[in-house]
Structures are given as structure tokens and as C-alpha cells.
Symmetry: D2
């Protein structure tokens, strides 16, 4: 019974309409059952891009849509590998289609542990969405685990090990996590579509066609070099233009301070300022279960923030208002040379009546757009290998000027955030006019300057 | 001071990136201030298509995005009218650009009174989003009203009257509400984009170009007949394919029954089954304020449903589970001829152990894709008029076979909804096998049949 | 050797980049060899839409691009049929993949006999592109035939019979020619793309997915009804908006008269007025070989027209100028009621100094957007059949209001064409002022009227 | 009369449907009249990308479509400049709308002197499309000149001087020719659309919005840096992927050799091998008039090549066949290190029976994707300047890593071309087997290698 489940195909494949891939094809009963679990359906209530929709209002798509997209790209890779590079004998470095189901499940579930406003939330409450993903997959309390267990008793651990990159077959691992994987390819295309920018577009069909399994993972035919290059550049541009947008980061700063303030109030016994927001209490305590974690989503947090708007704690209510009603902080770029000025600026903000712990922040957003292998790094990345006609591999940045230009270099900037009020220009009328005026003398061309 | 506000333009126009219109151009300080009100920002937390994302997973866009889109189309119409058909003297039937601001504000705010899961919610709690729109605009307690009042003391009422169609200038009214208005044009394009279907696409640029103001409203140059025809057909197809989708309607049925059950429990004193969901209590009571109304959004309701999953009331918890975790009812088409069978089917559902009040429903979704003027109808529609070279008007369905084919005819169907369990095929193993079997004998080709 | 050729697959499939289908996949050596024949390469020099680019300037695509597109859609249908409906035993009405190669070749070659400005050319010179297609395929003088013969001696005839609809397997025939076939689906999407209109778009992926082979040909799953409906409506709209465009037809009228005049001059011994345009002489004579036919393409004709601009024959040179330099005739719609006025109008044109045989024309463009089977018609069409869950077929217009509305009705109009000069408004200055004035009194709202 | 012509606007603006810009808006009578000249209409018969359609079959668009596209982008720039940066007084560095007409005419006509297969043709016959553009504009024999003269007697020279970059207003010059001008922006988008690749896409709307006139030309607001960067990268990728495609270059090599052979035959008195291709004779002679030049287009040349397929000269007929029927040469990359091997390879080709003058070639395609100002270069480029909030300018590559990476570096490669036969693998069967075999020993991974 159970052993059959692994191979149980739907009598008619089911399709989901998807703006990125046109249709998503569900063929295994296992995949359909996983989608129907409550842990997976919960992803409908968590936005893929957190607060980015405050800047790009179309970016309201959920992690659910991204997860089925990653599944679909992985399914396509398996189809192409099986058609073009089927393994004939063990160890020939080609594709063994028995790996398909574990790859598809890992693709579908790779983000199942994400919570509401993941990155900010994790920062304040020390949760970890990757650990939660593993726990959802392997804990006997989840519906996801129950489905996977029906395939085989050790199947949940197998799926988890793919996501954790410890699965022995590097082809399966690299499909889901590498510098050019189903995850990244889906989110670039999807975020690009929903934000309405076109920076993230690249030729997915071509990249899939030039993928080639080999003994150490997945390589790319040299003829597809430009398509791969274009993908790397697109990714770089999405980071520059969308993911590192200063206003998004400003909203995240407010969210972070809001949660920090709530935790502070709880820790200091001022629960009356927090109202009936008890689903957060385990996190304030630092002691939560999987079940506690799964109860949270964007809607729950937002409804708490809505309550906090009426809190007696002025900082909490003000930050909740700024967050929900989109009143971002302003920011300027900070460099090595000007970082020493930050205490001065913080003091000016405090002088203008703002608690500088909650009303200022520095935040750096950096990313490596692409990196080659470096033995010294503790968390090294799988570099992108191109396969020549004669079978030899060449690392991407060796043949692409554009990729070489951004390879191994961090991109992004460090910014100082402060209340919009500090840029007020109606100085004559205001009590804090001179303070504002001095503060502004440090700002020029979106950058912090020495006077 | 106040009189200036009306004409206060932003020093640099602001743009919002939008996947449908590419950019949305904010030029008036008034419009920027309206967008920044809490009532308008709240629209970010209400999905445009309610539960349609359970079928078309991309359709997670909010009423915020639609509202700014309607604004943008209206802005474009004003620009074209002002460039091509500026009024030279009172009564010449051309465009008076003094109407621009009232048109833009009405466009932006036309949906500001929508609440979470509007249509279902209204059905159960007798709220009315159109009245709420008016109230938000005219009540002195709203931020929206405060902004509008700064333009002129009677400006809020003017804006409201456009939305209520009582504003004297028919051109302004028809921009926002007619059979081919900025509202419909935006939602067709937007819903089409986010669902990933292409039924709703039509040539917006061309339709805008052939719009012509005249004394009784807005007509369309005869040369644009086919573009207008294509819009009507697109709208018809979106209704058939997306808005009337049986699975969406099934989820709505579950939502409706869930809210009905909660109200029943409240009314019968079983508030302990409802948990701390007190923001809904005024609605259970049937006595709510604007402030109560504005506290609700999709996230608040969803977080309540999440609590209800653990309710002691089995019906409430089961329906909440079916809703949140997407377990739609099944349905069949019902016709005049087979409607008499519904009591029999309901009885079978009850026999199988389901409370038929909460586990069955009939639901009809009908719409008039296009209608011509009919004096007998109490809520008649503005028909679409095409202007010939000699200035004479011809009603659209007179010259378009396609439009004539669907004009004045309701489209849609009536369906009977029931739990998926009733279609179970593993009859031998189940207690209710024979009941299921009899039930299924009434179903064929997605339709209710006589045996 | 020869027998192998049929199954010879390319070691690596070749792809052609295509804006409509993204990539076109060439897998058989036979297909690659056919594309490389001179008869097929010649299609690069013949525009798909004849003169439509004079109205929609982007529509400069050739019959080559369309032909590979039809091939690609057919290939996709074969893949889907083979995966989902493979025949198990003779006569089960499912797909026999041995038919794949004949289907692919027929798809690729279905238009190979088209000549320059086909429809107009055929009208004047009594050529027939369908007969030429058969001849190219079956004549031993063509490279196409040489390739096909390598598959099997009777293979050319088989391929030709598919295109002529006499091939015994109705599934293969209907793939290439029916009311919803690979040919039409490609040209609607392609013409829509290159003209830059969006009327011709429909959901190709979905239509392909719901296609089902059965014993009498190809049916469509009922679940795809709306996609099929949308295709029919799109086709109708492309005819109305693009293919029947009055200005294109006017250019065709000029082209037709230009060729007629050249033939007249030749027949009357005035070859000196024609210059060295001898590739046309066999056609003037009405006695041409396949080789003569294949020497003509758009470029050859255009270069002749270019010479004719300097001809001593004033009519020839004027019409050549009007054609090459885009000086279309004007036109008005003619109805049953006003057709009797045409002699009067022709006389006025003659009075104004134009030879009315060459400077006026009536032209009707009519099409049946969709038709059901009718035994009385001599050239009846294959109606579109939808398959219900229980296997019964329903004809499309029975379930679609929109299709019923345009089914069996001709669409299009009859127009009278005349020189633009007749609409001159500077009457005072011109000799023919009063004639122009009288002529114009018959025209109103783009229509011929009784005074 | 004449003076009015300059300001004569069309009573209703005319629109051309365009796949790239949706609509192209014609507002001035002058522009409409220019489009209707025979010199401009002739551009319909000259493909924008020469032979690229042999690789990307969709790329069949003409220079006509590109020319109206450049006009449209220029029109949009003028509109934005006039709305946002109208000059208030002479010398303020802002936009003077009196420059609009000269800018629009120059944009429309900038490529009017292109001939059939321009670059190759020029190489063999020492024509120059830029000089021909000037001549068409300024010669009193052209219809274009007649239209322009109606504006003002010196207007033709003004328009020509814009194209020649000697016009005094640098804003007008840079609109049409600079590193980011209407010409390049249109062709990248257009070539990308018609080839079906997406490398050339960038955010045109955003780039237009951030353009700012200043005293020395056109700068870009710093906020648009990423959009400009994306444009430069897109351009680089189009060169790498489309414009430098080895197969296109191979077809150009064949074309070049074909024309060279024809000229050789003519010069050596073998006109009988050339047939009645007398429109080329003035070019063989090196003595041609404007009128001779305007008689040529792609169709004329192709029809000559078609005749040459039957020539008694074997080289001419073979090259004509290879060109028309798409039989490209093969090629390998050549480096500094391996260039010394070319004589050896040429000799092997000759030994295999091919005239190496006509059957081999080296061809390098190099381009500077972006360049900064360098006083040493004789043909220096206008660098791209970004304007900061405080008005100071920064050159693009100073702030963009990606642009810096490709700035000032030539991209492209040098290749050696030879007949496909040299790569034959059926060596045993062939007379030249050993020669082929030795030849092939120099080729590896698409590159010329030392053995």
C-alpha cells in the first residue's frame, strides 16, 4: 500500500494557472497531498517579499506561489535530464530518475518553514526559518511529515537533507540550492513580474536546455554562457534595484524596532500595553513550539500591530502607526569616512525628542552577486561551471567580463535611518528648527557628509 | 491657504511602479495625501478578488493596487480630454478641466469602503461597502475627509456624489461608473495579469484615444468600435472563466457558512466557542461604527478563523479548517428542470452526517455582460454610444454582432454545493457507502440530472 | 540506408529562436533537410501577409516563419497525443505515433507553394498555390521531393494527400486543416505579434492540452470550452480588424490592377512598356512551369514594379508608383441598397480623367468565422466537437453564446474603391471641382448613400 | 503659405500601430509628408538587420519600422522636455521647443540613406550611407528635400547638420546620436522583439523620465542610474548574442565575396556571366548617381542573386546559391597566438579545391559597448553624465561596477571562415579525406589551436 504511494500518479495531471510558468503541472499524488497540507497552505498567508509591497505595490505575492514555482522548474529540469541524460549505469554521472520524487518534494518544501516577515522576525526573536523547515518536514506532528512518511519511513529525512545540502547526490542538491538553482530562478522571474520591473528577466527555457548533469553536480553547456551571464546580471540588478531598496529597508527598520519594543514591554512587565496578543508571548519568552510558530502569519502580526496602534505606550503605538500606515524613515548613505558622525546624528535625533534607540538605525544590505570557490570561506558556494565540447569545465567568471566584474565583490550599501521629521523645512515655525537645520547640514546628495 | 491646496502640485511628480500601467503618476499634493491616509493604506490588507487566489494563486493583489490603477486611468482620460476636447464655453459639452480633481479623488476613493471579503461579509452582516465609502469620505472622523475638506468644505460631498452617480456632470460620473469606465478597465487588466489568464486583455490605449466627451457624458468614436467590442467580450470571458469559477464560489460558500455559524453561536450565547474575536462582536450584534468597520481586514478575519480551528464547536472548527486549508465543496450545475431535486440531495447530505444548513448551498452567479437602456429596469445602465463622423450616436450592440449576442442576456449558472466526501468512491469501506452511491447517481457531466 | 532515414534523429536537437513559440525544436534529420531546400528557403522572400505591412508596418514577417511555426505546433500536438493518448491497438481511435513524420512534413510544407502576393497574383494569372504545393512535393524536379523520397517512394504523395485532406487518418488531416488547426493557431498568434495588435491572442497551451484524438479526428475536452471559444472570437476579431482592413484591400486593388495592366500591355504587344521583366512573361502567356513559378518572389515583383515606374504607359507607371510608394485608393462601404449607384460613381471617376477600369473597383472580403456542418455546402468544414466526461460529443456553438452569435454568418463588407483625388476639398482651384463635389455628395460616414 | 507649413498640425493626429511603442503619433503635416516620400517608403524594402534573419528568422523587420520608432522616441523626449524643462530665457540650458521640428525630422530621416545590405555593400562598392542620407536630404532631386524646403530654404541643411552632429544645439544632436539616443534605444528594443530574444529590453519609460537637458546636451538624473546601467548592459548583450553572431557574419562573408566576384567579372569583361543586372553596373564602375543608388533595395539584389545562381561562372553561381539558400560557412575563433596558422589553413582549403580568395575569410566584429571621453581618440564619444541633486555631473562608469567592467574595452572576436565541407566526417569516402582530416586537427572547442 504505502510502497505504491511513491509511484502513484494522478489519473489526470492537475494544473495550476501561474503567471510565470503559465501552468504548473502536478503529476504525483504525493505532491498534491503536500500542497494540501495545512503547513503548506499557510504559505498563502505569508508574503514572499515581506514589506517590499510598500515600495512596489504589486509585490503582494505569497511564498505559496513561489514554492509551487520552484517545484515546477525542478520538474522541468527532471524531465529534461531524464530525456537527454538518463543514467545507464551506476556512477556514470548522469541522471537517475529515481531521484525525481525527493527532488520535487525538496523543491516544493524548501521554504515551508518561513514565517511572517521572516528576516526581521528572526533577527529579534532568534528563530530560524531553515531549522523550522527541517522541523516541519521531520516532526511527526506535521501533516507534511505524515504525507512524506507514507512514501517511506526515512523519506522525510531524505527530503530534509536535500534542503540542508547533505544529501549525497549533488545534482539533486544543486537543483534546489546553488548559485543558479530552481529557487533563485523562480524568485527572480516572479519578483520581477509582481513588482512590475523587468530587471529580473532572463531566458529560463534556454538555461534549462543547457543544464547538464555530471558526476559533481550540474554544469552548463558552453553554448549557453550568455544566458547564464544574463541571469547573473539580472540577479545583481534585482538586488540593487528591488531587494536593497532604501525605503523597504526603512520599513523593515520600523518593523524591527516595533517588535523590539513589544518584547521590551513584555520583559518589563508592561503586558497591559500589548493587549491580547498572546500568540507572540512564547517568542517574547524565547520558548516556543512548532505549533506556536505555525500559528503566526502576516495577518496575525498585522492584526496585532493594529491593536498596538491604540497602546498606551507611545513608542509602540507610534511605530505601529508608522508601519501600518506607511510612514517610512528617511535615510542617507554612510561610508567608512563618515561613520564616525553617527553618534552626533543620533544625538541630534534625540535632542529633537525621539528615543534614538527606536528612531534611528544603521542597516547594511550586502550581497555577493556571484562568487567562485574559495577554500578559506567557511560557507563556500558552488561555482558555476561551463562544459566545453571536449568535456572540460570552465568556471563562469573566466569567460564573462560582466560576471568577472561583479564576482566576489559585495554589492550594497550601509545607511543611517531617522524620522522624516528631521528633514522638515518649515524651520521657523517649529520648536526644533535649529536642530533640524544642523542635522540637515550633514546630508547631501543622499549621502552623509562631513560639514 | 485652503484655496491654494486644491492647485498645489508636487514639485516633482511622484511615480509608483505598477505592472499594469508601468508607472502611476501622482501630481497633486491632494492625491498624495489621500494615498497616505490610514483608510486608504488599509486597502493594502484587503485582497481585490477575495478568495479567487484559492483557484488562481497569483491573484493575491489588494484593493490598494486597483484603486491607484483606477486613479491612473482617470488621470489619463483627463489629460486626453483636456488636450483634445477642452471646453471653450459653458454648455458646449466638452471637457472642463476644473472637474479634474473631483474626478481623480473619486477614482482613487471609489472602493475605499470595501471591507475584508466584502461580498460575503455584507451578505451575512448587512454591511454595505458603498455606504461605507460615502461615510469614509464624508465623516469628519476620517483622515480622508480631513484631506478633502482642505480643498473646500463641500468637496467631500462632491466626491461622494460622483461615486453615488448624483454628481451633475455626467462625464465625471461615467469616467468612474458606467459600462466602460476606469474602474472596470483597470480591474479587467489587473485581474487578468495577476491570475495569469489572458482573457481580460484589451487595447486600453486605443479605447482611451477614442473616448469623446459630449453633453450627456462620454461617447466613443466609431473608429474604435472593435476595441470597445473587444473590451466587452473580454469582460464577458473574465466573468465566465474567473469571476464565476465554481471553486471560488465554493470557497465563498464555506466562508459564508463559517461567518453565519459564528454569528449563530454568538447570538446563542456560546461566545466561549468563539475565543477573543471581539472585533467581530459589533457585527454579530448588528450595531457597528465606522471605527469598528475600519478595524477589520483580511488578516484580522483570517487570524480569527485560525483561532476557530480549535473551537469546541465542531461545525465552526471544521468550516474554519476547510476555509483556511482550502478544502472546497464540490458542486454541480442546477437547471430549472432539476431544481426540484435539491431537497432530496440535501437530505442525502444530512443522512451522511452533515448539517445540511452549513454543508450544502445553492449559489447562482449571474451577470449582464452588457446592457442597453431599458426604461422598465429600476437600476438601468448607461449604454455605450458610438459617435459617427457626422456626430450622430449609435448604440454599440447595433453595430457589433458579438455584443448583440451577449447583450441583455444574463450569463452564469446556478450550482448546488456539497462536501467532497459525497463523491467518495471507496464505498465498500465506508459506513455511508450506499448514501454516497445514491447521491452520485444524480450527477453527470458536472450537472444535476434526473435519474 | 533509405529506410533508416525516416528514423534518423539529430544527435542534438536543433533549435530556432522564435518570437511566438520561444524555440522551435528540430529533431528529425528529414525536417532539417526540408528546411534547407531551396523551395523552402524561398519562403523567406515572401511575406506572410502580402501588403498588410502598408497598414501595420510591423507585419513584414515571411511565410518561412509561419511554416516553421505550424511545424512546431504540430510537433507539440504529436508529443501530447503520444504521451496522453497512445494507441494500444488498431482501431481504438487513439494516436499512432507512426503518423508523426507525415504530420510534421505536411505541417512544414503546407504553404510551400505560395507565391509572391499570392491571392492577387492567382486572381490575375490563374495560378493556384495549393496545386503548386502539391507539385513541389510530388514533382521529381524539386529538392523537397528528393528529401521526401528518401523516406519512402510513396512518402511525397502521402504528405501531399494530408494537405489535400484525402489522407485516410482524419487526426493527421485535422491537425493541419480544420477550423482549429496548427495552421490557423500559428498565423493568428504570429500575425497578432507582428502587427502589434492583440486581437489574435488566445491560450495555445490550454487548447493543446484539451485536444483529444478520437476515431473521427480531433475533439476538445469540454473543460477547455472557453479557451476554444476565445480562439474563435480572436479569429473573428483578426478578420474584422486586420485581414479585412480597407486600406490593405485598397493596396491589393492597386496591385491587382497593376498586374492586369501589365498583362494587357503584353497581350497587346506593348512589351517595350514593360522592360526586361521576362520572368513574368510565362504568366502573361498563361503557360508556365514549376521552375518559372519558383523564380518569383516579393523582391522580384517589387523590382519589376520599380522598373515600371518609369514606363511609357502612364497607367502602368502611375499604378506602380501608387503601389510602391503607398498611395492607396479611398473606399466606401456599399450595401444592397446602394449598389445600383456604382455605375454613376464610376462614370464620375471617368469624368475626372481616370480610366475607370483601372481606377475603380469593388471588393468584398467575407469570411465565415466559424461554421457547423451543413450537408448542402459543397466545401463543408469540420465542425469543432467538445467531448464531455461521458464521452459524448457536443458541437461548439451549442454551448457557446458567443460562437453561436457568429456561427454560419458571413462577416465582412463590400467596398467601392476610387482615387484619393476624388475626395479633394480644394475644389475652387481645380478643374474637376464640380465633379469631385458631386462624387462626394454620395459619401457619408464611410458609406455610400443615396443623395 | 510656406511659413505656415512649419506649424501645420494635422486636424486629427494620425497613429501608426507599432509593436514596440504601441502607437506612433504623427502630429505635423511635415512628418506625414516625409513618410509619404518615395525615398522614405523605400525603407520598407530594406531589412534593418541585413542577413540576421538567417539566424533569427523573426528579424525580418525593415528600416522603415525602425525609422518611425526613432521618430516616436524623439517625439516623446520633446514632449517631456517641453513639459518639465521649458527654456525661460536664452542660454538657460533648458529646452527650446522651436527645436522640435528639426529634431523630429532628423530622427525620422537619420537612416534614410541606407541601402540594401548596407555594411557589406559599402565595403565592396565604397558607398557611404551617411553621405547618402545627407544627399537625400539636401539634394534638390529628392522628394524629401522638397518637403523640407517648404518649411524653410535652409531647413534641409539644418536637418542634415543634426545627423552630421554639427548642429549648434547639443541637445538636439544628442537626442539622435550619442551613447544613449533615440536611435539606439529603438533598435535595441525592436531587434530584441523581432529576433525573439530578450537581451535588448530595458526600461525605456524610466530612461526618458530621467533625461534632463542642460547647457552641454542631455544628462540623466542620478535616480535613474540603474535604468541607464541596464540599457548599457542590454546593448552589450545584444552585440554578443545577436549582432556578432558567427553564422550571421558567415552569411555576410558569403555576400561580400559574391559581390566582389560579380565586380571582378564585370571588370574583366565577363558581363555575360552577370545577366541583365544592369542596376549594379554603375557601382561596378564606381560611378553612380543618387538616382542609381535609390533604385537598389534588398529585393533588387536578391533577384539578381537569383539570376546569378544560373551563371556560367561557377564561383558566382555557387556563392549565390549558398547565400540565397542559406548554406553558411563554418568558422573558428582566432587569437593573437594562432593567427600565424591562417595561411596554412587557407592552403588546405585551396588544396581541397576551393578558391581561397572567395572561400575563406577572416572577419572581426568588435564594438565598444560604452566609452568615456578620451582626448586622444579622433572620433570620441559623448559620455553619459548623471546629474546629482546638487547639479553636479558624474560620468556613468564612476558609479556603476557593471558599466566600468565593459567600459572602454572592445568586445567581440576574430574568426576564420571556411566551407562547411572542410568539416566533413565521412573521410573514407571522399577524395579530400586526408586534407579534411588535417584541417580539422586545427579546430577544437570552436577555436583555432596549435596542434
Amino acid at each position: 500500500m504505502i510502497s505504491d504511494y511513491k509511484h502513484q500518479m494522478l489519473p489526470m495531471e492537475k494544473v495550476l494557472r501561474d503567471p510565470i510558468h503559465n501552468y504548473i503541472y502536478i503529476q504525483h499524488q504525493v505532491i498534491l497531498d503536500l500542497i494540501n497540507t495545512r503547513e503548506f497552505q499557510r504559505l498563502r498567508r505569508i508574503r514572499q517579499l515581506g514589506v517590499a509591497n510598500y515600495v512596489f505595490h504589486g509585490a503582494e505575492h505569497s511564498r505559496f506561489t513561489h514554492s509551487v514555482g520552484v517545484y515546477e522548474i525542478t520538474r522541468k529540469i527532471c524531465d529534461l535530464f531524464q530525456r537527454n541524460y538518463p543514467s545507464k549505469e551506476k556512477g556514470d554521472g548522469l541522471w537517475n530518475d529515481d531521484e525525481r520524487l525527493v527532488a520535487l518534494c525538496a523543491a516544493l518544501l524548501h521554504d515551508v518553514g518561513h514565517g511572517a516577515y521572516s528576516h526581521t522576525f528572526e533577527h529579534i526573536f532568534h528563530t530560524n526559518h531553515e531549522k523550522m523547515t527541517t522541523e516541519i518536514i521531520t516532526s511527526s506532528h506535521s501533516e507534511v511529515n505524515a504525507v512524506l512518511r507514507k512514501v517511506a519511513p526515512d523519506f522525510p529525512e531524505k527530503v530534509a537533507s536535500v534542503i540542508e545540502k547533505s544529501y549525497p547526490n549533488p545534482q539533486v542538491v544543486q537543483m534546489i540550492s546553488s548559485q543558479i538553482d530552481a529557487d533563485r530562478m523562480d524568485y527572480l522571474l516572479r519578483d520581477s513580474y509582481f513588482t512590475g520591473t523587468n530587471y529580473g528577466t532572463f531566458d529560463l527555457t534556454r538555461i534549462l536546455r543547457v543544464m547538464k548533469p555530471y558526476s559533481d553536480g550540474i554544469s552548463f553547456d558552453m553554448s549557453g554562457m550568455h544566458a547564464v551571464e544574463d541571469y547573473i546580471v539580472s540577479r545583481f540588478q534585482m538586488y540593487q534595484q528591488v531587494y536593497f531598496h532604501p525605503v523597504s529597508r526603512s520599513i523593515e527598520v520600523i518593523l524591527s524596532h516595533l517588535l523590539k519594543r513589544a518584547k521590551y514591554l513584555y520583559k518589563n512587565g508592561k503586558t497591559n500595553c500589548l493587549g491580547p496578543t498572546n500568540l507572540l508571548f512564547p517568542f517574547f519568552e524565547g520558548d516556543f513550539s512548532l505549533s506556536d510558530y505555525l500559528k503566526l502569519d502576516d495577518g496575525v502580526l498585522n492584526s496585532y500591530f493594529s491593536l498596538w496602534q491604540d497602546s498606551d505606550d507611545k513608542i509602540l503605538s507610534d511605530l505601529a502607526d508608522r508601519f501600518l500606515n506607511r510612514k517610512p524613515f528617511k535615510s542617507v548613505r554612510v561610508s567608512e569616512d563618515t561613520r564616525y558622525l553617527l553618534p552626533t546624528l543620533r544625538k541630534l535625533v534625540a535632542d529633537a525628542g525621539f528615543d534614538s534607540e527606536y528612531y534611528t538605525a544603521t542597516n547594511d544590505s550586502f550581497d555577493l552577486p556571484y562568487d567562485t570557490y574559495s577554500p578559506s570561506q567557511n560557507k563556500h558556494r558552488t561555482q558555476i561551471e561551463l562544459m566545453q565540447k571536449d568535456g572540460l569545465l570552465v568556471e563562469l567568471s573566466q569567460v564573462s567580463n560582466l560576471v568577472a566584474a561583479i564576482s566576489g565583490k559585495v554589492s550594497g550599501d550601509e545607511r543611517f535611518f531617522f524620522p522624516k521629521e528631521m528633514k522638515s523645512s518649515e524651520q521657523q515655525l517649529e520648536l526644533f528648527g535649529p536642530i533640524y537645520s544642523e542635522f540637515q547640514s550633514y546630508l547631501k546628495n543622499d549621502t552623509l557628509i562631513k560639514k
